[in-house]
């Protein structure tokens, strides 16, 4: 009983000891915050990656692909039976995207993906990341009349999404206005020959055909437009980061909009591949919030790509694809499926990978980061343990007389030890508890804190330009929190054991005599 009373009194009267546990508090708080954020990032990334990638992918080794995806899919269906929820053939090729902005050609390397708009949704979440509500219901490569989202529909939950007013004019209307502008421009060129180069082309205008000086104009008059210029080309969905940039106010500025035309240059399927280009019309943007994908993915209809790249056998009409995406039933172990499919398909022709295999390095990197951070932070708490050790030795020396008194009253050595170990435990509990509260509060208000820090330092702490998340994702795992707090408590108790042993071994007479 006296142990509890004395622990409690010591805790309330020794502020120096409280100072020694501030580092425990900070360590615990930091560990909770770091773990919550890392966990948040990992989960978010997993979710994003998994929704972008299908569970298992069969891929060709070459850009030429393999023929007859239908046969492959039937084979997969036979192998896996009910475990398959959906399948879709795709073509993945490297490509260059070019568009005109501010009178200059902007060219970017991209990953061109030919998708089957009808079955794409069955193999993974794709439509959900599009910017037109109708496309989210049923994806189409047709240009929409208008009605694109003017706010980020994925950020709507927590607010703070970028304002995208420019999207108001996107769609067919945009195309009409581009055409009008082009017409005005052309007539201006005709009215004032030789001044064409002085006129700055309008932002985001259609690729113009520079007719050069009028000498050539006379010899080779501008070709008559035989097609309807308002009729869109084949549709293309661009990763949103390819078409936008973030300005200082964190607003998305659009370089191209749905309705504008872009050029894609990609290799043909032959050997050696030759570069081929064609004009496409942007019909929507793809925004999965993974900057790596948002800034490299370009989707076109698979048939068009097969025709352009020469992936259709002219005699039999068999089409080629480079990959088949497979979505599995929930709860099916995709590694088992992968191994099954690896046995079914010759490895020299295709490779079978799960989405984790494909993103392995990234996922392991995040896991390793978390582990190392935890290790380092735990070191901080351990250092705090040494602080407790030192302070406790001091307190034992200070309390020498009291220890003698207690012993003279009949307290046993183990009782004395209990006081100091209990005191350590209590201090640890206060420190770790405080740390837990601070950590959890920090996590709860992390965005406000990040804003405040950004305001103080003038630099954004969490740059949405890099992550494309508006809020810092956090997940508080009760299990992790428990572990952290238990670890801190253990350290506090361990640090108090040595001084407590010393206290318990003090000779009562000498302790009483101590001044």
């Amino acid at each position: 009983m006296y142990k509890f009373l004395l622990c409690w009194r010591y805790l309330r009267t020794r502020y120096i000891a409280l100072a020694s546990i501030v580092s425990v508090t900070l360590g615990v708080a930091t560990m909770i915050v770091v773990n919550a954020v890392m966990q948040g990032f990992t989960e978010e990334m997993y979710e994003r990656l998994h929704s972008i990638l299908s569970d298992v992918v069969i891929e060709a080794h070459s850009l030429e692909g393999f023929p007859d995806p239908k046969w492959h899919m039937e084979r997969v269906q036979r192998e896996l039976g009910d475990d398959v929820v959906g399948m879709t053939p795709t073509i993945h090729v490297p490509a260059m995207l070019s568009f005109q902005y501010g009178g200059q050609w902007v060219t970017r390397p991209v990953q061109l993906i030919g998708i089957d708009e009808k079955t794409q949704a069955t193999a993974g979440e794709f439509a959900r990341f599009l910017q037109h509500p109708a496309n989210r219901d049923q994806m189409s490569f047709e240009l929409r009349e208008g009605g694109y989202d003017t706010v980020d529909h994925q950020a709507a939950k927590g607010g703070g999404g970028s304002n995208r007013d420019a999207m108001k004019g996107a769609g067919t209307e945009r195309r009409r206005r581009n055409y009008d502008a082009q017409q005005r421009f052309d007539s201006a060129v005709q009215r004032a020959p030789g001044t064409a180069n002085n006129v700055a082309p309008k932002a985001g205008s259609q690729p113009t055909i520079d007719i050069g000086s009028d000498i050539f104009a006379e010899k080779r008059p501008e070709p008559k437009v035989e097609y309807d210029p308002l009729k869109p080309h084949t549709g293309v969905v661009l990763g949103i980061a390819l078409a936008t940039y973030r300005d200082k106010e964190n607003q998305d500025r659009f370089l191209v909009l749905p309705g504008d035309d872009v050029k894609l240059t990609f290799p043909t399927a032959g050997t050696p591949p030759k570069a081929l280009d064609d004009v496409f019309t942007v019909v929507d943007f793809y925004e999965c919030k993974m900057s790596e994908y948002d800034s490299s993915f370009v989707f076109v209809p698979i048939e068009k790509l097969q025709e352009l790249r020469g992936m259709v056998d002219p005699q039999s009409g068999t089409r080629f694809v480079t990959a088949i995406q497979i979505k599995l039933r929930d709860g099916v172990d995709n590694q088992l499926v992968r191994n099954k499919l690896r046995r079914a398909f010759p490895p020299e022709l295709v490779s079978v990978q799960t989405w984790q295999d494909k993103q392995g390095p990234l996922l392991t990197a995040v896991q390793m980061e978390t582990r190392i951070l935890n290790l380092l932070l735990f070191m901080i708490v351990a250092v705090a343990g040494f602080g407790i050790l030192a302070i406790f030795f001091m307190i034992v020396v200070e309390k020498t007389k009291d220890i003698g008194i207690l012993k003279s009253l009949g307290a046993s050595s183990s009782g004395i030890m209990g006081i100091f170990v209990g005191y350590g435990l209590l201090l640890g509990a206060v420190g770790a508890g405080g740390g837990m509260v601070i950590g959890l509060l920090f996590v709860a208000y992390i965005d406000k804190i990040a804003d405040a820090l950004a305001w103080l330092t003038g630099k954004p702490v969490f740059d949405p330009q890099i992550y494309y998340f508006f809020r810092i994702p956090t997940i508080v795992d009760p299990f992790t929190v428990t572990w952290i707090v238990a670890g801190a408590l253990t350290i506090a108790v361990l640090a108090s054991v040595l001084p407590a042993r010393r206290a318990s071994r003090l000779h009562p007479v000498e302790a009483l005599r101590y001044e």
């Binding site: 009983m1 009267t13 008194i405 009949g410 046993s412 007479v509």
Partner: protein, 254 residues
């Protein structure tokens, strides 16, 4: 001085005759030796002390500093152990008991007060008085009996004239008040023996007399056996019997 001693002896003799004729002494030491090690040399403190304190006796041990009187008291009170010799408590040898049993004996049967009061500074007077009971009982049994214990401690403090100091910390009290609190603490477990180590050494004369008065009353009314160590003859003479300790031996005073 010899008058005083004679009268003490007479008093003791009568009491011994009619009360404790065939009972073993409350506390006794036989051939007690102890020396402290100071570097390579050994400093003998007790050189074969024989002493017997009967039940209900008020004995004072007097001697100059370094005569070993405090050490004797510590050994008698099981706070310390002699190098050789025996200590008996109510006829039972206690110097060779295991630590735990000696802790228990000290907690239940021996009360101690000191020159510097030795109260715990973090606790109030009441808590200080209760501390031997807290040590004696597990927290559950203490919790069950807490009201009885509190009443007992409050009553004890009241008899010590400290009802206005019950919730005060030691640093808010005067020396006399602290010593009275210490006496209350020593008595709470209802011990058979009270060992007092220079109980008035740090107090002014009137306060010292007051404390002695309390001890004497306790001895007379409660029949409490008291062993008091002092270097002041005037104080020592307040006891029934004075034992003189010279160079680690009991000097036969007759």
């Amino acid at each position: 001085m010899s008058n005083v001693q004679t009268s003490v002896r007479e008093r003791f003799a009568t009491r011994a005759a009619d009360e404790v004729a065939d009972l073993p002494p409350q506390l006794s030491a036989i051939g007690l030796r102890k020396s402290y090690r100071k570097g390579p040399s050994e400093v003998p403190v007790l050189r074969g002390v024989d002493i017997a304190i009967e039940r209900g006796e008020f004995v004072s041990i007097i001697g100059q500093s370094g005569s070993g009187k405090s050490t004797l008291l510590h050994v008698l009170g099981t706070l310390d152990q002699g190098d050789s010799g025996q200590v008996h408590f109510a006829g039972k040898r206690i110097d060779n008991l295991p630590t735990r049993q000696r802790d228990r004996l000290r907690n239940r049967s021996i009360g101690m007060i000191f020159q510097f009061y030795h109260l715990l500074p973090e606790l109030t007077a009441l808590e200080n008085v209760l501390s031997p009971l807290m040590i004696a009982e597990g927290w559950l049994s203490y919790w069950r009996q807490r009201h009885a214990f509190r009443d007992r401690a409050t009553k004890l403090l009241k008899t010590m004239g400290l009802e206005h100091r019950i919730h005060h910390r030691p640093r808010e009290m005067s020396g006399g008040e602290m010593q009275r609190t210490a006496i209350a603490r020593a008595l709470i477990a209802q011990p058979e023996v009270l060992l007092a180590d220079e109980p008035t050494g740090n107090l002014d004369q009137p306060t010292g007399r007051e404390i002695l008065g309390i001890l004497r009353t306790l001895n007379r009314q409660e029949k409490l056996t008291i062993v008091m160590v002092t270097h002041d003859l005037a104080i020592a003479e307040q006891a029934d019997r004075v034992v003189r300790l010279v160079e680690g031996r009991v000097e036969q005073a007759d």
